[in-house]
């Protein structure tokens, strides 16, 4: 069992917003929902569970009004739900991530105290629980249209990684140059030779990134193969660059 430290956190992305630079503490609590079922005439408590879980996520840190940062994400508490992904072990292909399919921004507290740095706390509402995923493409910047087939990621020691589907998440934090849009695909392979399209994310525009919403969580049906890669391509414009990450979650066998 390995131990991990705060310096290893690779990224924390809400839509296109990067939270890492202003976060000092995260609390992620998953609770099994219980109903008390003991009845009159019994002396010992009894509990029943459907298996449903409740996830709570809170974030402490510094007030930061950087572009596409913490304050921009939470000021005014927008009602748009966005995917959230945290990479607690680092930013490299194959490392574990926590994927939250759809989160709301429900509480934002700014603390200003004499002699102290301004602080900010936020609270999320979690819809769809938390998915244990891996990084298929680490957060990084790419230029011309290409793919990572030569630098694929092995997501499972055995093939296939799973047969019961799963999900994938995309976060785009920058799209520069003058492209009209950028389309990113997740691919998978049985043999590390041919990579078939698994998910084609909706095209992302510069306006999506500026609005903080350039992200998507998508479900995957059927088999997910052992090797995954990503591909990206642009429409229109010139000198494009895109900064993004893709994660994938494989539904465990029952």
């Amino acid at each position: 069992m390995a131990k991990y430290g705060s310096d290893q956190v690779g990224f924390m992305l809400l839509g296109s917003y990067s939270m890492l630079g202003s976060t000092s503490k995260l609390e992620d609590t998953v609770e099994l929902k219980l109903s008390q079922t003991d009845v009159l005439g019994t002396s010992d408590e009894q509990w029943w569970s459907s298996g449903a879980r409740k996830t709570d996520l809170t974030q402490d840190g510094w007030f930061d009004d950087a572009s596409n940062g913490h304050h921009e994400a939470f000021k005014g508490l927008p009602t748009t739900h966005l995917p959230l992904t945290i990479a607690p072990h680092g930013n490299a292909g194959g490392l574990a991530i926590d994927m939250y399919p759809s989160v709301g921004r429900v509480n934002y507290t700014v603390q200003v105290s004499v002699g102290d740095v301004h602080k900010a706390q936020s609270q999320y509402s979690i819809n769809g629980g938390k998915k244990a995923g891996v990084i298929a493409f680490p957060l990084g910047t790419k230029v011309a249209a290409a793919n990572t087939d030569s630098d694929d990621v092995t997501i499972s020691a055995t093939h296939p990684a799973g047969t019961g589907g799963g999900s994938t998440v995309l976060h785009v934090t920058e799209l520069t140059g003058t492209p009209t849009n950028c389309t990113i695909k997740l691919r998978h392979s049985t043999d590390g030779i041919t990579y078939a399209d698994l998910t084609t994310f909706a095209a992302v525009t510069p306006a999506n990134v500026a609005a903080g919403v350039a992200s998507e969580y998508a479900t995957i049906a059927g088999q997910i193969n052992k090797w995954v890669s990503v591909a990206w391509a642009y429409t229109g414009g010139s000198a494009p660059t895109v900064t993004f990450t893709v994660g994938v979650h494989v539904t465990p066998a029952p």
């Binding site: 793919n147 030569s150 590390g192 030779i193 990579y195 591909a231």
Partner: protein, 77 residues
């Protein structure tokens, strides 16, 4: 008569037999400069769903079929 295939989904694969050989050789190596050099010389081709596909050898055909990327186009279909 050579069989004709159609892409059932978008995919990418080595673009030619030489790229295929380089990729296979690279996969057998541990991470390092030699492996990276070989991988950098692999040309990839992107194929859109519905495109006509002419596999350049049996190995790539097997890979395409195993990954369910192509289907044979019947003469009367």
């Amino acid at each position: 008569m050579a069989k004709t295939y159609r892409a059932t989904k978008g995919f990418s694969c080595p673009a030619d037999p030489e790229s295929m050989k380089r990729l296979q050789s690279a996969r057998k190596l541990e991470a390092g400069e030699k492996r990276e050099a070989l991988l950098a010389q692999v040309a990839w081709m992107d194929v859109e769903k519905g495109a006509k596909v002419e596999p350049y050898n049996d190995f790539i055909l097997r890979s395409l079929l195993e990954n369910e990327c192509v289907e044979e186009v019947k003469a009367n279909g």
